[in-house]
Amino acid sequence: MPNKDAAKADVLQGTLDLMVLQTLATLGPLHGYAIAARLEQVSGGAIQLNMGTLYPALMRLEQQRLVRGTWGTTETNRKARFYALAAAGRRRLAAERAAWDRMSSIMQRVLDAPE
């Protein structure tokens, strides 16, 4: 991957992780499609995740033990893999939220600073 893409992917990756964690915290265990659908809905269509973007993030989160994945069945009786937030994930979510809030308030102050 060329460097610029890597940097962009990293930024996207960090925020995507946070969004997934928050979604799971809000709605409880969901399968991958449901997470993508929810994010699309909440963002008003701005975030459209295809499989190639969503699943690397879920795989990473699972490897870091922030979420736990298990096979289950949907309401329509289809097999799907459900992801649930783990304790470590909850802690990471809190930390990331705090960091995000801090950063956005600083940015706000800098961008709106009077001359």
Binding site: Y55, M59, Q63, A80, A88
Partner: protein, 884 residues
Amino acid sequence: MTTRRAWVGRLREWLGRRSDADLEAELRSHLELAAEDGGRRQARLRVGDVPRAMETLRGVRRFAAWRDVVRDLRYAVRSLRAAPTFTIAVVLTLALGIGANAAIFSLVQAVMLRRLPLTDPGQLHFIAHGSGTPRPDGTSSNYPYFERLRSQSTDVFAGITAATSRRFKVSTDAGVEQVRGQYVSGNYHALLGVRLAVGRGFSVEDDRANGVPAIGVISAAYWARQFNRRPDVVGQTITVDGTPVAVVGVTAPGFDGLDPGATVDITVPMSLMARHRPGFLDAHDGWTSLTLVARLKPDVSVSQATARTDAILQQYLREPDNVWAIQHSNDNFRQALLLPAARGTAGLRTQYGTPLGVLMGMVAVLLVIACLNIANLLTVRASARRKELAVRLSIGATRGRVARQLLTEHALIAAIGGGVGFALAGWGTRAVVGLLAQGRNGVSIDAQPDAGVLLFTTIVSVVTGLVFGTVPALRAARVDPLLALKSAVRHHRHARLTGRRLLAAGQVALSLALLVGAGLLVQTLKNVRTIDGGFQRDHLLLFGLDTSGTSFQAAGLPQLCGDLIERLRLRPGVSSGSCSTMSPVDTRAEFTGLHLPDRPETPEARGIYVNVVSAGYFQTMGIPVRRGRAIGAGDTGAAEKVAVLNESAAAFFFPGEDPVGRTLSFIRRPDTMIRIVGIVGDARHDLRDDPPRMVYTALTQIQGATAALTASVRAVDFDTIRAELRTEVRALSPAVVVNAVRTMEEQIDEEVVRERLLAILSTSFGVVALLLCCVGLYGVMAFDVAARHREIGVRLALGASRLSILLNVLRQAAIVAVPGLAVGLGLAWSSSKILEGLLFGLPPRDPVTLLGACLTLGLTAAAAALVPARRAAQVDPARVLRAD
């Protein structure tokens, strides 16, 4: 899912790795769910397709895994650099252990395992003979037998070649020197498949007797030494034993003849023998040192070929001319044998097989001791890093990750240790090879670490890393973050200490076993070296005189000898001198058969040592004359033929009688009567064996042809003599070559090179083991004292004496060391059989050595424990109580 798949799945989960099939199933289910939402085609447009998503996932997984490895390595490097003392100690310990193993393995490979670099060496066999009993088989033969075999065995052998080695007198522009060489039959290079660096090998035409100019092939080493590797060496002439020989080829490095360890520098065709040693090619009244090598035909089995060879042998023995073979040969020629020749002759392997095996065992034990030490050090380091690991665990690292990172660190240590060890091994091997190559009969081994040794070192490093690295890594990862962060030391102390105590005790046990071995081998060396050989070994200088090709054949030798001794005796300090064909503790030995009148033939009489000596021999050697007289100046060629027996021979052949005055004759000339005029003391030939039965005859009355003599001079100081020896001899005759100038002490040193090797190496290993053991014990006691810091302070405050504290710590050390010594003694006792064949003069369970080793180790251990003990006794109770 079946149970097994469930378990595999759980393992995968623990590792955090999902199978491709699992991922793909999830992606498909995503697609299905999207299709539910808005139609299949729409779905694919919205969420992408499965193959491409799988590609991305795989890429991410690979990238993540790689990134993890790189991160682990970086972290490992950083943490090792942050603790330089620890890292250096561990790497050095490991390098010593692995390096020693690699070095000994290099030797084992070079001496025992390496195959000759010939074409298809597995098909080559020595044609030998034996008696069917466990006696060593002989590979001698003679030329007529070779010719019969060559013509009659074409159904089983693709070809047979013959070789016999010899020390040639070579004259080049630089001078005359003695060079190891061999005569070979014309098909030698072709049949064996010898690779040549320059020029060509022999062909069958080159082996014709007459009318063909003599050619020769030289070794790569000789080419470098004598010709400076000049490219136009083909066509150069060297004079070999008086015959000008044109060089036609140079063998590629790696092949130095069929005897491992003995480099053959010059190879000439067998037909040259007709000029140098006429009669060799026709002689069939004895076995000579002609080695025969045959190549099996592809579809012929060894037993088939052996049967055929045996048939030819029996037929040969029954030829009317070969009556001697039945009468005078010993049992060794009952049947023919084929011995594998892929690794060359067995001499070097037999000599060094057991010693190398013992050394490999020792060095493996040393590595185990080193590993125990390192495991100890790692455990200490892990407990020191408890806080760091706890922090990492609490911010979200899994135990698996932490364990993996620690394993990476340990693997890195193993890799560095292995690398340094490999470098050390090269140095060590060179030193050993140098030791073995000393002297006239020095063994030349090419034992430079090669790919095989590198592979061995890698495997050893990996296994070592796993052995010492896994348990500490797993244990460290089991740290409970909460407890660790609270900085309570006590919770883990007890469990840790027992483990470390066990490790230290294990080290003591193994070190004791090594020390016992070293002690036994050192004493063996001393015993062999200082045993009374029956002669006086001090102030004795020996040198060889090579008169071949000069006018001094048999008749002139006594004159040459006499003149030389006269000249040397003119020098101050020289008390006596003599010449002989053999000297005590020599590798050369000559046998003959005795014929005693009125006595039945005994097999022992057929193989008695014979030494042809000049007057003054016994005086020079310091061998006492027990009865009668020694060989003297009066025993000239014209006088009655005389002989002297040594005590063993006299006791054996004339038990209870006085042999002086009796006569005997030699089997080859049964009509020449020789009178026994004296009995002398026994002199050892091999220091490790009993003195052989020997008969001495006079140089002036010599009965056979000989061109090489050993001259001996007894003098107070040799320096000037050694320097001017060659001038003295040249003054008498410019063609006589002086070689192998050495003192008797030096000759004995060469004789015991095997014992020296074992003594030096085993002592080195023992000392290193002792050091490692002490470091280990010190570490355990220091940790113990540090952990009990508060307890000691309290005790002191309550009135305990400092001495009692000291003794207490020492007692703790004894709890570790004493069981270790006991187990070590048990180990040494039960494994004593291994050393049996290598010892001399003491039993493998020698109590003095066992006791000595225990004392050495015990005292050193006590010293190692004393330092922390004193520190414990010096604890300031007030400070301890205040700090709590």
